[in-house]
């Protein structure tokens, strides 16, 4: 009797799983019918994202799915969950499936190498976006990302604009592990140095550079340490929005939010919201939709036989409160 029950339980669950498959397996065969007209499918592209819980990568994934379909490719999206072994396993599964191309945000810039190499050996072209592969053994056709150096320079320009009359002390909330953040800080420092080099300009000095962890809690602590050591701090440059928001939270808790102004980076929806509310002065913003669209464009170019640049950098733009007030994405939210 109870054996029978176990069997039926199993059967039910398997049928359920089978149904789940049927719904989500998407178009099979050679025709894509979802847009109404029938396009001959030229192949599938596998995308292993760093994570899909971060809206940045979700936007990249959604844009790429749409763009790929326009060009006759089906995009399969999986999430590496920030674990490089999971991602390497997913690449192996892509190879078994025989995808036409693979797109990655490497979960680790170095240890993803062996998996990319296996794809190279099978002749499958590999593309990366936002995060780059850092190694010599494996070959990536093209890397698409935000121009972080130029973005850092924009942040520097904005800082100079803000403090050029008065001068003042500035703190940087860094995330030195990430190469992208090193570039942002480099561009920022360049612009400040250029301003300070002109005779008679009031000096803008970076008095402390602290690790803000790229996260809210650590940004809070780092701002506390920076202000503890420099009472007269005039401004903070944070390498991303969460650490900028953490710093703002600390400043509000000690009533210094009018003395110390903040410039962030990224311009994701919460960061834009903070700019709208005047909590962050401005952000050099990134364009995940462009990153996604250009990645697909490069894949199409590759199969068209065109020359593809090994690296494409997408310029950032400054985003102020006035931009936020005109931003339809923020209007919808209210």
């Amino acid at each position: 009797m109870r054996r029978l029950d176990c069997c039926s339980l199993l059967l039910i669950s398997l049928v359920w799983m089978g149904c789940g498959k049927g719904e989500s397996s998407g178009p099979r065969g050679t025709d894509v019918g979802s847009t109404g007209e029938s396009v001959t499918i030229k192949g599938t592209i596998g995308y292993s994202a760093l994570t899909l819980t971060n809206p940045f990568f979700k936007v990249i994934a959604d844009t790429m799915t749409e763009e790929a379909l326009k060009h006759g490719y089906e995009l399969i999206v999986v999430s590496g969950e920030r674990d490089v072994k999971t991602q390497a396993d997913q690449i192996d599964d892509f190879i078994v499936k025989g995808v036409a191309a693979i797109i990655l945000n490497p979960c680790d810039s170095k240890s993803i190498g062996p998996a990319i190499k296996r794809a190279n050996e099978k002749g499958i072209p590999v593309f990366t976006n936002d995060l780059a592969y850092d190694g010599k053994d494996a070959k990536v056709v093209c890397h698409v990302a935000t121009d972080n150096l130029q973005g850092g320079r924009l942040a520097g320009d904005a800082m100079v604009l803000m403090l050029k009359e008065t001068g003042g002390d500035v703190a940087v909330l860094h995330f030195p592990q990430a190469e992208s953040c090193q570039l942002r800080v480099k561009g920022f420092t360049e612009k400040l140095a250029a301003h300070n080099a002109v005779d008679g300009n009031p000096q803008i000095n970076i008095v402390s550079t602290l690790d803000g962890g790229g996260a809210r809690e650590e940004g809070f602590t780092a701002a506390k340490d920076a202000l503890g050591a420099n009472q007269d701090l005039a401004a903070i440059f944070a390498i991303n929005d969460p650490s900028a928001q953490g710093a703002r939270a600390y400043l509000e808790s000690v009533g210094k939010e009018d003395q110390v102004r903040i410039i962030g980076f990224d311009g994701f929806i919460t960061g834009k919201q903070a700019i709208l509310e005047g909590k962050i002065v401005c952000d050099p913003i990134q364009f995940p939709d462009q990153i996604g669209a250009i990645t697909i464009e490069m894949i199409v170019k590759h199969f068209d036989g065109d020359d593809v640049e090994p690296e494409i950098l997408i310029p950032s733009e400054l985003y102020y409160k006035a931009d936020a007030e005109a931003d339809p994405a923020l209007q919808q939210k209210e």
Partner: protein
């Protein structure tokens, strides 16, 4: 009840999960059954025959495929076949779409035309032909497709075994710990610590040019460190009588912190080729981690079912007090179990570092959950006293097959998580129903 049917019911109770695995494998074979496209020398010869069958006069043919070893076999076989039939092969491209464009540009400079393109399926789908006016109308011939299941390809089956090997190796230790009614949450962090400490030791004593002796010392050192930390867990659990959940939770944080400290949060990739052989090498076509897994499961199975230590472990899980009173050395046994669990986590970490060719403190994230899931799905009771090492192996494979199958059938990543959670729940449910059938009986008798 006859002898035969009691044997059958025992088999079902013990290895019912094996049946589930078989059903899953058939399910995914069915779902991934699709057109397959051959390449290599057979496909090359075949495509030459196809051309010959439909040929009506002299032809100028271009052969296109990728630059891989298999594709080179395809092009050379096709070229030979065509040439022996008297067909003119004007160009052979082994490379990327770009190479096709360059080749055609060169041909048109020479005034050479192409009447037919011979390519394997992948290369025939490139969009480069539509872009070149000379090739737009040129017909393309590809080898005949055949039908087969992606899931059953030997490369996939070996891949699944290789993907699960590290989890499965750690799960042996976890099975022993859970059978004693304990738990070890620190295995994931120990994986990271072993990977980082081995890689760091090898980098500091020679880096890329380190000798094999250094590599062996690094591997053993990494495992030994985790062995010691496992023993530390054991001491806390036995001598100080702390709950294993808390002790190993603390170790999970400390080991992870230590791994990040040692590596300054960066991956260590300056390692010699000889280190990569452990995780990346193959013996008779099967990856080394799979051999390691098979060997360790044989040892684990014998240890748990045929030795005194194995009986002690089950006795402690069944009733610790009763075991102590009947003369089982409870403390020593528990200490050994936690030490073995730590050592196997260390081994897993070293194999992982070798496979990924770097040591990184981010490795091993949430592995404790993967491993505990494999143990539970494999039929080991979290209450202790019950469970089999081979059941754990089946549990690990069930999870790996589901993950692999879902990737092969394009299941949305969020749905993948829901399914994996459901499988874990189902594993525990079946386990509980097996031990307490009265719950089901009550449920059904109420309704009826």
């Amino acid at each position: 009840m006859s002898n035969e049917s009691s044997l059958r019911s025992r088999l079902f109770a013990d290895y019912g999960m094996f049946f589930v695995l078989a059903v899953l494998a058939s399910l995914f074979s069915f779902l991934t059954y699709k057109e397959q496209h051959p390449t290599g020398s057979d496909a090359g010869r075949q495509v030459a025959e196809i051309v010959e069958e439909s040929r009506e006069g002299p032809l100028h043919v271009m052969i296109v495929a990728r630059g891989t070893a298999e594709d080179r076999e395809f092009t050379s076989a096709a070229r030979e076949g065509l040439a022996s039939n008297g067909v003119t092969v004007v160009a052979v491209v082994n490379g990327e779409p770009r190479d096709v464009r360059l080749e055609v540009e060169r041909l048109s400079e020479d005034g050479q035309s192409v009447d037919l393109i011979v390519a394997n399926d992948v290369a025939s789908r490139w969009t480069v032909y539509d872009r070149i006016p000379e090739l737009k109308m040129t017909p393309r011939v590809t080898p005949r497709p055949y039908y087969g299941a992606d899931f059953l390809k030997s490369s996939n089956l070996i891949g699944v075994a290789n993907q699960t090997a590290i989890y499965a190796i750690i799960a042996i230790g976890m099975t022993m710990v859970i059978v004693t009614a304990g738990i070890d949450l620190s295995v994931g962090s120990l994986v990271a610590l072993a990977a980082v400490s081995s890689a760091l030791f090898i980098r500091e004593s020679g880096g890329v040019d380190a000798s094999s002796a250094v590599v062996i010392a690094g591997v053993i050192g990494g495992i030994l460190l985790c062995c010691l930390l496992g023993a530390f867990n054991g001491v806390m659990v036995t001598v100080f009588q702390l709950p294993p959940f808390i002790v190993t939770l603390a170790m999970m944080m400390m080991a992870s912190g230590l791994a990040f400290r040692l590596s300054s949060g960066r991956s260590i990739a300056e390692l010699p080729e000889s280190f990569f052989a452990l995780g990346g090498g193959r013996l008779m076509g099967v990856p080394n981690p799979v051999w390691l897994m098979v060997g360790l499961y044989v040892v684990g199975h014998i240890l748990m079912s045929r030795t005194v230590l194995g009986r002690y472990i089950y006795a402690i899980g069944g009733n610790e007090e009763a075991a102590r009173l009947s003369g089982v050395p409870v403390k020593r046994t528990l200490l050994a179990v936690y030490t073995v669990c730590g050592a196997l986590a260390g081994l897993g970490g070293v194999v992982l570092a070798s496979q990924l060719e770097a040591g990184d403190p981010k490795f091993g994230d949430k592995y404790e959950l993967h491993v505990i899931a494999a143990v539970v799905v494999g039929g080991t009771s979290l209450m202790g006293g019950q469970g089999k090492v081979l059941g754990t192996l089946i549990g690990a494979f069930i999870i790996a097959v589901i993950k692999n199958g879902m990737n092969l059938t394009n299941v949305d990543p969020f749905n993948q998580k829901i399914v994996l959670g459901g499988v874990l729940l189902l594993g525990v449910l079946i386990d509980t129903m097996k031990r307490r059938p009265e719950i089901l009986t009550r449920l059904f008798s109420q309704r009826g």
